[in-house]
């Protein structure tokens, strides 16, 4: 396999990384909102959230992507490929992350919240300054795991027309007829990306203050 082909794979890996990172960020922000809705305990908020999570965890990502890309135009929203891919991945990861975060919020020791009550924090201040940072710290490893899952699942966004790493390997294999070489190289690139993410996150995790013993 030539260097040129490998370079093309690396370039496609840029799409994989770019789309995943953006989706992880959006998905995470949405997940914070969703988990807050779940914690509110008000059926008005929890019911739609439960439905959302059930749908986006229960239905394969491939199907979600096809729905977003091909069905939204029928109600007059024509989303470009990149947007469809990011929406699909974000919604899917948000559903998983929301569940992770909810676990985190529920394991914030009650006493820490009482301490905030005593100091006169409003509910919003308690959420932003105490609950969120601690829940994040508690769920950090799970959040990173989910991010790595999304990195790998992002290969499915080719169904909406994005030539990411896996698709590029398939395309190149289709013209060079060297599938084994190309797939091995793609696997290696995934491995490097995932390991870098894992390494980076464990460094960050060690640096993060506030482990609860």
């Amino acid at each position: 396999m030539s260097f040129k082909l490998f370079f093309l794979l690396v370039k496609a890996a840029g799409w994989t990384l770019g789309i995943s990172v953006i989706s992880i960020v959006f998905g995470f922000l949405l997940a914070v909102v969703l988990s807050a809705a779940m914690l509110s305990g008000k059926p008005l908020y929890t019911m739609p959230t439960k439905l959302f999570i059930s749908f986006f965890r229960g239905v394969p990502l491939l199907v979600q992507l096809l729905l977003i890309y091909n069905l939204l135009p029928f109600i007059g929203i024509n989303v470009p490929s990149v947007v469809a891919a990011i929406i699909g991945l974000s919604l899917c990861t948000a559903a998983y992350q929301a569940e992770n975060l909810r676990g985190g919020f529920e394991s914030v020791p009650r006493g820490l919240i009482e301490a905030a009550d005593m100091a006169g924090f409003s509910q919003r201040q308690t959420f932003l300054r105490i609950k969120l940072p601690i829940a994040l710290r508690l769920t950090f490893p799970a959040l990173v795991n989910e991010a790595i899952m999304i990195l790998k699942s992002s290969s499915l966004v080719s169904v909406v027309g994005i030539v990411e790493l896996t698709r590029m390997a398939q395309d190149l294999a289709a013209s060079t007829y060297l599938p084994l070489e190309l797939f091995s190289a793609a696997g290696l690139i995934y491995l490097i990306i995932c390991w870098s993410v894992a390494l980076l996150s464990s460094t960050v995790e060690r640096a993060l203050p506030g482990a609860i013993k």
Partner: protein
């Protein structure tokens, strides 16, 4: 685009057979994966460095690459090194190995969650290592590892669609083939969404029941 339920009804037997294939490969692969994963976690805990480091490396490679690529390399690359597997065995082995990597990490965390003192108590009373694992560690970690095991099971169900590239007639491939042969894409997407969703919800429901029963059995009044 029009929705035509007739397409689905006409192909019900094929759809059902695809669903059954997916179901049984998923369940068998997962059960084997849990078993192997537990062995790997145990090996890493008690096997010393010479087992821990290589096993850890293999686990990380398996977790760091997409299932699609792994299964492709094994199925189409295997014959070059003298391993020529049929699709179903290859799919089963692939699913087992892939899930074992993830399950081993869950069990490793499970081992870590049992207070060391409980193991020391067993040691003081003369239980052998095997007895300690079977009588103390396994039952104690059961409740803790159940939720992540179920989560992983749901992820695996959906990953199993990848097996279509090695010609396993599983649900996704079967239904999308019907979709493209009949040009009934909307119907195909709909069927896939519903069937997977039903399996996932059923799994989650069963898990919740098991969890409730386990915790009732183990930690409450007789």
């Amino acid at each position: 685009m029009m929705f035509d339920p007739k397409v689905i009804l006409d192909h019900l037997p094929e759809i059902a057979s695809g669903a059954l294939t997916t179901l049984w490969i998923w369940i068998v692969g997962m059960v084997l994966g849990i078993f192997v994963g537990f062995l790997v976690a145990t090996g890493r805990r008690y096997g010393g460095r010479f087992l821990d480091i290589p096993l850890g490396l293999v686990v990380e490679v398996l977790r760091g690459t997409p299932f699609l690529i792994q299964i492709f390399l094994v199925y189409y690359g295997g014959p070059y090194v003298g391993v020529s597997l049929d699709p179903i065995p290859c799919g089963l082995i692939g699913l087992t190995v892939y899930s074992a990597a993830y399950y081993s990490e869950i069990f490793r965390a499970g081992y870590g969650s049992v207070p060391h003192g409980h193991v020391e108590a067993a040691e003081c009373l003369g239980l052998t290592r095997f007895q300690t694992i079977r009588r103390i560690l396994l039952p104690e970690m059961a409740l803790i590892v159940l939720p992540p095991c179920v989560n992983l099971a749901i992820i695996l169900l959906k990953e199993s669609a990848v097996l279509s590239i090695i010609t396993v007639p599983e649900l996704t491939a079967t239904v999308s083939a019907i979709g493209s042969a009949q040009y009934a894409f909307l119907e195909a997407i709909f069927v896939l969404a519903v069937i997977y969703w039903v399996i996932v919800e059923a799994t989650a429901w069963a898990a919740r029941k098991t969890e409730a029963r386990l915790s009732r059995l183990r930690f409450s009044a007789p």
